[in-house]
């Protein structure tokens, strides 16, 4: 029955579809299978939430590896008892990974790891340069998105965390330590009334900007870069204390550990990591000081040549996790005018 998960002939991997999974398939899974004889059954999901719902309703061992987002999700999975314990000795390539990406994960799981960081990016402010100058964007920062002048031309991600984060910035508070939550909700309401559309996917974000449905929104660095590459005149700016995030490859409890660890190590091989990064326009988690990343990677937005990621702020997992239940529910109402 559930023995299926333990069979060493195959491991299950779930991730973002499209270009990402193509790159994974070609540069990681196929050679890995050739090398080990272990098949990688790959699946896709549309978002971390949806995936979690599926994992929660599955049997242990059914899902193995997943390309998850952010430290926050790591904490969530860990909190739900879905984490495993990696034997780092089996993943020598872990040494080349940016330390500041690994540390937050360790902190959550008592010094052990259940995942390896894989890539990172920012959620900054994207604006149409035809209508908003770089200067204006820099001057107004997060408050661009509560500017009455752009009513009906503003967008935003429909995710509660990002909304609250920006609400905190707009009410001049520290997102990881909000004092006046009501003020944040007010900012969110204000933004809501000006917004044309809360987008729910990268595709939507890109088309809203590309088709000039909106002039300003917060956006994912990689997606904005993709737009710029296509010749759209879109500016991107990380305000101070810009919102950074990382993506990791998480190993779920009940997985065949040895096989998974070998796959992880394989995926951290520079060629693999770089190919994936170039496909999705997010820099790999490899430390540029330790690994040669080629020509394109250094031009990606959010790329940190120092390999320290000092300039970015991340969701404090403990803080956000604590408020998750209340805030996510509350946002659901505020979003709808309540």
């Amino acid at each position: 029955k559930s023995a299926k998960a333990a069979t060493p002939e195959q491991v299950r991997f779930d991730g973002w579809g499209g270009v990402v999974s193509e790159a994974f398939e070609k540069y990681a899974f196929e050679p890995y299978t050739k090398k080990t004889g272990i098949k990688v059954v790959s699946g896709t999901f549309g978002g971390a939430d949806e995936y979690l719902a599926r994992v929660k309703s599955s049997q242990p061992g059914e899902f193995n590896l997943a390309h998850l987002s952010g430290v926050f999700d790591y904490a969530r999975y860990h909190g739900l008892g879905l984490s495993s314990e990696l034997n780092e000795a089996n993943i020598p390539n872990l040494k080349t990974v940016i330390t500041s990406l690994i540390e937050p994960l360790r902190k959550i799981s008592d010094g052990k790891l259940s995942a390896v960081p894989y890539d990172y990016g920012t959620t900054g402010i994207a604006y149409n340069r035809k209508h908003i100058s770089d200067d204006e964007a820099r001057a107004k920062g997060a408050k661009l998105m509560i500017d009455d002048a752009y009513k009906g031309k503003i967008g935003g991600w429909a995710e509660w965390k990002t909304r609250i984060w920006y609400g905190a910035l707009q009410s001049d508070q520290d997102p990881n330590n909000i004092g006046d939550m009501e003020a944040v909700w007010d900012m969110i309401r204000k933004n809501r009334d000006l917004v044309l559309k809360y987008w729910t996917s990268g595709a939507e974000l890109m088309s809203l900007l590309a088709e000039e449905e909106i002039y300003v929104t917060e956006g994912w660095s990689g997606r904005i870069r993709a737009l710029q590459d296509q010749g759209h005149d879109i500016g991107y700016y990380d305000p101070k204390g810009g919102l950074g995030w990382q993506e990791c490859i998480f190993v779920l409890k009940g997985s065949p550990m040895a096989a998974c660890e070998e796959l992880l190590n394989f995926m951290l091989e520079p060629e693999v990591a770089i190919a994936v990064a170039e496909g999705q326009f997010y820099p790999p988690a490899l430390d540029p000081k330790k690994v040669e990343l080629g020509k394109i990677i250094p031009t990606l937005p959010a790329f940190d040549p120092s390999g320290t990621l000092d300039g970015l702020s991340f969701f404090d997992p403990a803080y956000w996790n604590k408020n998750e239940a209340e805030w996510s529910k509350k946002f659901s109402r505020v979003q709808r005018g309540y």
Binding site: G47, D49, E50, L52, A53, K56, R76, G79, L80, G152, W160, R192, V195, L196, K197, Y198, T200, A203, E204, S207, E211, E212, E213, K322, E324, A325, E326, S328, K329, S332, R333, Q335, R336, G337, Y338
Partner: protein, 291 residues
Amino acid sequence: MAAGVARAQKHAPWILLSPSLVTIGFLLIIPMMFIVVYSFWLRTATGADQVGFYLDNWQEVLSDRFYRDILLQTLKIAFFTTIICAVVGYIPAYFVANTKMRSKTFLLIMLMLPFWISYIIRTMSWINILGTSGAINGLLLWVGIIDSPLNMLYNQTTVILGLVHYLLPFMILNVYVSLEGIDKNLTEAAESLGCNGFQAFREVTLPLSFPGLAAGSLLCFVLASGTYITPLILGGPRDAMFANLVFEAIITQLNWPLGSALSLVLLVLLGALVVIYTRYLGVDQIAKSFR
């Protein structure tokens, strides 16, 4: 009824029904029991579910104005969608049923064409039509009727538009199928008694096509009430429907107990509608006049 036969084979209907009943029983009834049970549990701050018998979810769902408002909004949207589908869908159904063109089947297959394109893509493509740089604005700007693009997207109207587009084929096919079965002599009889074409339609064709119209309307209403993708893609921030709340509760907030209670509310409400349908518009009622 062929009751001599029917009595000899009292079990016949049960044989006919058993595959459906088994399927629904195992894949719907029993699973829904879990949902009923879940609706009495509690979602804790840590994310794990508290097993027990709590009425909190039910109390919240039934007393909170938020849910009631969204529910009403949902029913309103579903209602308008259904009405529009009925009115707009009847005409092509009538045309296809009565055309002497040999292309009848072709026209029907064409009806299903949009389904080849994924629902999400199809819905999103309205943005290419109605958007600021979409086809309509492009045309109007080019012709010079307007000089700045119109804002047509992301409101309740576009949600209804998207739903109508999605549901229209269901209505058309249902109505067509009913229309196809009407004896032409009857409209002729009506006309011979002094009806003009339209009156004969109203007196004979329309009531006799009612089974299809009712079935189509039920489908449209129920499906419209249960969608979440259309409002997500074509609605503005406030244009949520009840299924969005269910989806969010279950997927985003991972609050299955609450989601269960919410979905049961919707189930009961739509179920009442179905009961009304089976009682007053359903097969038995309609069959009366045909037997």
